[in-house]
């Protein structure tokens, strides 16, 4: 895939799944199946999310080097990593998430819901 592509968060709707996948890649899970394991989501959910994030320019994809693969005695795998817009999008998503958590915690601390 070549040519100019729209980058940035406005190019994609950030759902729970995409945010999760983005977080997993940021955490260092480079391969599709590793992301899958980390998120605990099926491949049919993770892969389209990866494609979407890649198309939006939040993730960069490349084939690992032949030497690397040969050393491990397996075919070359495709690796994913965050781009600069990806980092920005993730930060934004996490800020939102933190905000949501605060709201949720506030609700949990309310008198009527108080278990303590």
């Amino acid at each position: 895939m070549t040519g100019t592509r729209r980058t940035g968060v406005e190019g994609i709707r950030m759902t729970q799944v995409t945010a999760l996948v983005l977080r997993a890649v940021a955490a260092g899970y480079r391969y599709g199946f590793d992301v899958m394991d980390a998120c605990g989501l099926p491949s049919g959910t993770v892969y389209p999310a990866l494609r979407r994030l890649h198309a939006a320019g939040l993730l960069a994809a490349r084939w690992e080097g032949a030497a690397e693969a040969r050393a491990e005695g397996r075919p070359r795998r495709r690796t994913y990593e965050l781009t600069a817009p990806g980092v920005a999008a993730l930060t934004e998503a996490e800020v939102k998430l933190a905000h949501t958590r605060e709201l949720l915690d506030g609700l949990a601390a309310a008198p009527s819901g108080g278990a303590r």
Binding site: G3, F33, P42, G44, Y47, P48, R74, R76
Partner: protein, 873 residues
């Protein structure tokens, strides 16, 4: 193989083309890390589906366009050549279509144009060259009373008016109309009103309705002009209304009432053109049937004007047809011919571009093979080709549209006569739709051709041979030859067409018109009836003007005629020899009657074959003298002298004319129409009671040098005789003849251009194919020459190949031309539609050009250095 790998392979079929292989490898590598377990493989279907749908809908489309743009940009020369070829083809089609659309297809710009009809007659038996036979006053009143199939019926008559404003005379195109006229066209004045009952009857106050442009320019858009008195032709008319902007049927700027006296309606002169608005729900056929019925009853009650025998002989019948037909008669055929012609040019352009694409496909075989090996399907390849060709065609369409916008202006300048203003020619919605359609179609047509060969092909062979597979190109090679044959054939059809038109043009040029035009300047004059009393004052005016003009330096001769030949003026009536009148009820020959001044024959170089010319003293009541044309003299007195004989208007027992001279024949109606029988009458054609002076005259002046240099002097001469008279339309007599031949020269020029483009494109196509054949056969030719084959044999071989293609094309082209040239029909003159000389001549011309186009690559082949050719292999 593990089931998960089968699964991935099967699902990968969903992934489009280029990405498929990478997609599969990614999944295979991931699955390998999990021992290929099926548990993780199911999601591949969702992924493949996602890639497919997203890829096709958005990224895929834009990617196709981007890839296509890059592909085109990589070969700027190819893109430019192919694009320009198409732009010329599409532009020419758009230009002609916009004229066809405006003139033949678009409805007239009036409300409910379908209901507007020309309400007139036809008279095939008269053999006169006019679009319709109009009404007499009495006929019109008769129809007006009886017609039920029409809501409104009006008659009009073209007129010219001298308007006095600010002390300067201004000549205006005007129309005299009956009061129903504005109801018929369905347009009412924006200011004031139209004409009301009684205003088209004698004795009413003179009124007028102004055109918008006239109101703006001459009256400064002053709304208070309504109600004001304005002097026109010496009559003070009250302005009652102003028509909306852009309203005009021809180019008129003024409407005045056509006065008819119901108690004394003229039944003899048929000069009023009828227009009508059909009643709601009425058809043209119904109106025609009703009109025919009314005509029958009219003939019964008006046997004096329309004796039964004459009715039968002339075949006078009702003729109701769409109003538009009144205006487009002359140009219809030429336009369709031109439209067909540019269609051919576009086909040739398409064939050329398809050929270019084939060459390109040839050059890109290796790329194609690689991409197919990478998993691109046949559909993907076709998509890529189509996006390139459609993109190119759309770009060419835009350029073509721009070319057409200019072209239309040029076309209209060249166009025969002036098209009436209601036929609005220009780039509008339907033209845009047409261009888009043509562009898309051409893009698809020539985009598909190169792809047809794809599919069953030995890819590895192509890769191994470095893209110069010799077997695999055979199908496309055949396609290229087929395209060249088609181009040659189409080009020949156009060449024959333009050859026939050229021969017609030459034949028309060679026609002896019967008069000369060299050194002649002409202008028109209209004497206002209110200023000049009919009789002696009229003669006196022309005599004084003649003397003034003759006294100008450089002027050799001066003459006047109520209507010059080839100007479209018509004034014919049946005439008979007095000693041998035609039986009542049988129509005598229609004789074209003109009033002339004594100098007319001299200035026009019309030979006087017998007797004498007219004199100033030959005035109506004193001495009724007439000069007749040779055709008339021979028709009435074959083998005898006409001088001294008497002729008269058919059935007129009171007046007769004595023939004093016989003049040579002239072509009057048109260059291609045989000379008419003519009677030249003096300036005063009547008698003392009704002098019938000529109030409108074409003045002709012969000068030594440039005819137009005499315009200024003539204007001053006219001013010195009557300062209020404007000089109308000064021009050379030669331009009158040019105008009369405009339809032919227009078609000749455009067909010539089309044929030249076709010849050029066809030749380029042939050259390309032969060059290509030579380049492919270079190794073979090298071997043969190394083995001792003489140069001549090689040369002949290549030439032969080109000549075979040309020969087939020429044969097909001749057949095509044979069946199509009849469409030129009446545009041709003095040459048959299947003229063998033209057919063979153009075929020979095409053959010669084709030979040249083949000769150059053939020569290159014969100079092949065997060593180099073999090394290249």
């Amino acid at each position: 193989m593990r089931p998960s790998l089968w699964w991935i392979r099967a699902v990968s079929a969903l992934v489009p083309g280029e990405g498929r292989r990478a997609w599969r490898e990614e999944w295979e590598a991931e699955l390998a890390t999990r021992d290929g377990s099926m548990r993780h493989a199911w999601g591949a279907l969702a992924d493949a589906w996602y890639v497919r749908t997203e890829g096709w809908t958005m990224n895929g489309m834009s990617r196709d366009v981007r890839t296509a743009l890059r592909g085109l940009a990589r070969k700027p020369a190819f893109t430019f050549l192919a694009g320009l070829t198409l732009a010329i083809g599409i532009g020419a089609n758009t230009a002609i279509f916009s004229v066809v659309d405006g003139v033949l297809i678009d409805p007239l710009p009036f409300p409910e144009p379908d209901r507007l009809v020309s309400y007139n007659h036809e008279a095939p038996g008269l053999g006169v060259n006019v679009p319709v036979i109009p009404h007499s006053e009495a006929m019109y009143l008769h129809y007006l009373e009886g017609a039920r199939a029409v809501d409104a019926l009006a008659v009009f008559s073209d007129d010219n008016v001298n308007l006095m404003s600010g002390g300067e005379p201004q000549r205006l195109a005007a129309v005299q109309v009956t009061r129903e006229y504005f109801d018929v066209v369905g347009v009412q004045p924006v200011l004031g009103r139209g004409f009301v009952e009684g205003e088209d009857r004698p004795g009413a106050e003179p009124v007028a309705v102004l055109g918008y442009g006239l109101w703006q320019q001459t009256f400064g858009s002053d709304p208070s002009v309504v109600g004001r008195l304005v002097e026109m032709d010496g009559v003070r008319r009250r302005v009652v209304g102003v028509m909306p902007e852009g309203f005009a049927v021809t180019d008129e700027e003024l409407w005045i009432p056509l006065e008819i006296d119901p108690d004394d309606a003229d039944g003899g002169s048929l000069g009023l053109i009828g227009v009508a608005r059909l009643a709601e729900g009425a058809t043209i056929e119904a109106a025609q049937v009703e009109m025919q019925d009314l005509l029958g009853r009219y003939a019964e009650t008006h046997a004096d004007d329309l004796p039964p025998g004459i009715l039968e002989q002339s075949g006078l019948a009702a003729d109701v047809k769409p109003l538009k037909e009144l205006f487009v008669q002359d140009v219809r055929q030429a336009l369709w011919v031109l439209f067909g012609t540019v269609g051919f040019v576009l086909l040739i352009a398409c064939a050329n571009v398809a050929n270019l694409f084939l060459v390109r496909a040839e050059a890109r075989q290796r790329e194609t093979a690689v991409r197919t090996a990478m998993g691109a399907s046949r559909l993907d390849m076709m998509r890529q080709h189509l996006s390139e060709s459609v993109l190119l065609a759309l770009g060419a369409g835009v350029t073509g549209l721009a070319l057409a916008a200019f072209g239309v202006q040029g076309l209209l300048r060249l166009a025969p006569a002036e098209l009436p203003e209601i036929l609005r020619v220009g780039i509008d919605g339907s033209v845009l739709a047409f261009t888009l359609g043509v562009s898309l179609t051409t893009g698809v047509v020539f985009g598909v051709v190169p792809v047809l060969g794809y599919g069953r092909r030995d890819l590895s062979g192509t890769l191994r041979e470095g893209g110069r597979s010799s077997t695999d190109g055979e199908g496309r090679h055949r396609a290229r030859r087929g395209l060249v044959v088609a181009q040659v054939a189409l080009a020949l059809v156009l060449l024959v067409g333009s050859g026939l038109m050229l021969r017609s043009f030459v034949a028309l040029r060679a026609v002896d018109l019967g008069f000369g035009t060299e050194g002649l300047m002409t202008f028109r004059l209209g004497l206002p009836g209110a200023e000049y009393e009919d009789g002696e004052p009229v003669v006196d005016f022309y005599r004084r003007l003649t003397e003034r003009l003759e006294s100008m330096p450089g002027v050799e001769a001066v003459g006047m005629n109520t209507g010059l030949p080839l100007t479209g003026s018509k004034s014919a009536g049946p005439m008979e020899p007095v000693e041998r009148p035609f039986p009542e009820g049988q129509l005598a020959p229609l004789v074209e009657r003109r009033q002339i001044t004594p100098g007319y024959f001299d200035v026009m170089s019309v030979p006087l074959l017998e007797g004498r010319a007219l004199e100033w003293t030959d005035q109506g009541d004193r001495y009724r003298a007439v000069v007749v044309s040779e055709t008339l003299a021979k028709a009435f007195w074959p083998g005898e002298s006409a001088v001294g004989r008497m002729i008269r208007a058919q059935g007129d027992d009171e007046h007769a004319w004595e023939v004093v001279g016989v003049a040579g024949d002239v072509r009057f109606d048109g260059v291609r129409d045989e000379p008419l029988p003519m009677a030249y009458l003096p300036v005063l054609a009547g008698d003392a009671e009704s002098p019938l002076g000529a109030f409108g005259m074409d003045v002709v002046v012969r000068v030594g040098g440039d005819p137009l240099a005499a315009v200024q002097g003539a204007r001053e001469a006219l001013r010195s005789v009557d300062p209020r008279l404007p000089m109308i339309n000064p021009r050379t007599a030669a331009s009158v003849v040019e105008d009369a031949m405009a339809a032919t020269s227009f078609t000749v020029v455009l067909l010539g251009i089309a044929a030249a483009v076709a010849l050029l494109l066809g030749t380029v196509g042939l050259y390309g194919v032969i060059s290509y054949i030579v380049s492919r056969r270079t190794p073979e030719i090298g071997v043969r020459m190394a083995l001792g084959a003489p140069v001549g044999t090689v040369l002949r071989g290549v030439l032969g190949e080109g000549m075979v293609l040309t020969g087939i094309g020429v044969a097909l082209g001749l057949i095509g031309a044979w069946s199509l040239s009849r469409a030129l029909g009446s545009l041709l003159y003095g040459v048959s539609a299947t003229d063998p000389l033209t057919f063979l001549g153009t075929a020979a011309l095409l053959g010669a050009v084709a030979l040249l186009a083949t000769w150059i690559p053939a020569r290159r082949a014969s100079r092949v250095d065997p060593v180099q050719a073999l090394r290249a292999e």
